[in-house]
């Protein structure tokens, strides 16, 4: 306990780093994933086909392999980055596929009739998308997207393997020094749990609220 209190400042700083990593990964994969999801439904069958293959491809590869691949591939193509940027990049590329899948599912759940009605009223397709489809689709997608956030937070622990300093890395460092694996790993577990469980609860709450709104 004494040791934990002494290490608390370091662990909090590490938690902050984990949250920064997660935040960057969430924001950018949300933007990229939204774009990819929209392209797959709006830009015609050929683009849609490519996007679906991309989504399938990414989902079939373990995140850790994806991270290692970026770590070794980027320098080979002449991009010199630090492990931190490599980590953010691979998390964004990876999770944008998941966001795209969620967005695509939500957009497709909006009845085609509504799109036809919009077009019949003389709106352009993009306008229909903006004022008819998306406001409904995004509400449907929010709980799943929040769930994905908690997966992202958990997944940031993997970037410690390529040497990015965050909660898992810092905990490991402390364990190596103090030889107290139970105390510190369980403490790290609790920290991750608090963050992820909060997000999951929020997602459940929103889901219930949405269900009410749709009644």
């Amino acid at each position: 306990m004494d040791q934990i209190i002494r290490s608390l400042p370091v662990l909090l700083e590490a938690l902050q780093q984990t949250l920064v990593l997660s935040g960057l990964a969430v924001v950018f994969s949300a933007l990229l994933g939204f774009a990819i999801g929209e392209v797959s439904t709006l830009a015609g069958p050929v683009a849609g086909w490519f996007v679906r293959r991309y989504i399938e491809l990414v989902r079939g590869i373990p995140l850790l392999v994806f991270i290692f691949l970026s770590y070794y591939l980027l320098p080979a193509v002449g991009v010199q980055t630090e492990p931190f940027s490599t980590a953010v990049m691979s998390l964004v590329l990876y999770f944008s596929a998941f966001v795209a899948e969620i967005v695509r599912g939500a957009v497709q759940s909006i009845p085609q009739n509504q799109i036809n009605s919009g077009l019949a009223l003389g709106m352009r397709r993009l306008k229909v998308e903006r004022i008819v489809v998306l406001p409904q689709a995004l509400r449907i997608a929010v709980p799943a997207l929040l769930n994905l956030c908690s997966i992202v937070v958990k997944s940031t622990s993997l970037v410690s393997i390529i040497g990015v300093w965050e909660l898992t890395y810092a905990t490991r460092e402390i364990v190596m020094r103090t030889v107290l694996p139970f105390e510190f790993f369980i403490f790290a577990m609790i920290i991750y749990f608090v963050v992820c469980y909060t997000i999951v609860r929020a997602s459940k709450m929103l889901e219930r609220k949405m269900a009410l709104a749709h009644r």
Binding site: P62, F68, P181, A188, V200
Partner: protein, 218 residues
């Protein structure tokens, strides 16, 4: 960018070795997780409040923490209390602990999806509770849970890659070893990404076949 596949072609034996370890790691963990997951789901549905609360706490904790931390906890922790186990066993333990939690939720959902009236019908026909459960509820529960179960199996397969973090020579570690042996080439990772993808694809195809075969009309 020039690709040089010699790092892969010269080290096929290392990759095959890694692939075999990954397959062993996945299959053992999948079987154990499904067994324990089903048991947990059953105990949780048995309505003993205290046990229910304990299991539910376990499931929520493991579902909301990174696998890597569980893995480190086992790998670095157990030797200190006098239990020396090889990385392979540590990886199996961590994977089973984590995925038992995921799978028990899936099976529980499957069981809950079977209408309660069917239990009563089975009992009314004179079947024992165990028989009712075994031949009426469980087959339908698995059928309902199958699509999510296949997804969970694919995720478990991908999670075996974390074995590389504790120097377990699975497919991912094999690629890392080769890469470091050959002046940090990235080609081995493309090769193993393709292998993981193929395995995930095979699993989902197999899942689809089983689903079609055991589809229970409702």
């Amino acid at each position: 960018m020039r690709m040089d596949w010699s790092a892969v072609t010269n080290n096929v034996d290392t990759l095959v070795q890694g692939l075999l370890t990954t397959l062993a790691l996945s299959s053992i963990s999948i079987v154990l997780s499904i067994i324990f997951g089903t048991l947990l789901a059953l105990v949780r549905l048995s309505n003993v409040t205290f046990v229910e609360a304990a299991i539910s706490a376990y499931v929520e904790l493991l579902r909301n923490t990174p696998l890597l931390i569980t893995l480190y906890l086992i790998y670095f922790g157990l030797p200190l209390v006098g239990i020396a186990i090889p990385p392979f066993t540590s990886a199996v333990l961590a994977l089973v602990m984590q995925h038992t939690a995921f799978i028990s939720e899936i099976i529980r959902g499957g069981i809950l999806s079977v209408p309660r009236a069917q239990v009563e019908a089975g009992r009314a026909m004179g079947m024992t509770p165990l028989k009712t459960f075994g031949i009426v509820i469980l087959p339908q529960a698995f059928s309902a849970a199958l699509p999510s179960l296949v997804g969970a199996i694919v995720i478990l397969l991908q999670d075996t890659s974390l074995g590389a973090a504790i120097a377990e020579v699975d497919l991912t570690m094999a690629a890392k070893v080769i890469s470091q042996r050959t002046a940090t080439s990235f080609e081995p990772f493309i090769a193993i990404a393709a292998l993981y993808f193929a395995l995930a694809w095979l699993i989902s195809q197999a899942g689809r076949m089983v689903e079609a075969r055991y589809k229970i009309a409702r």
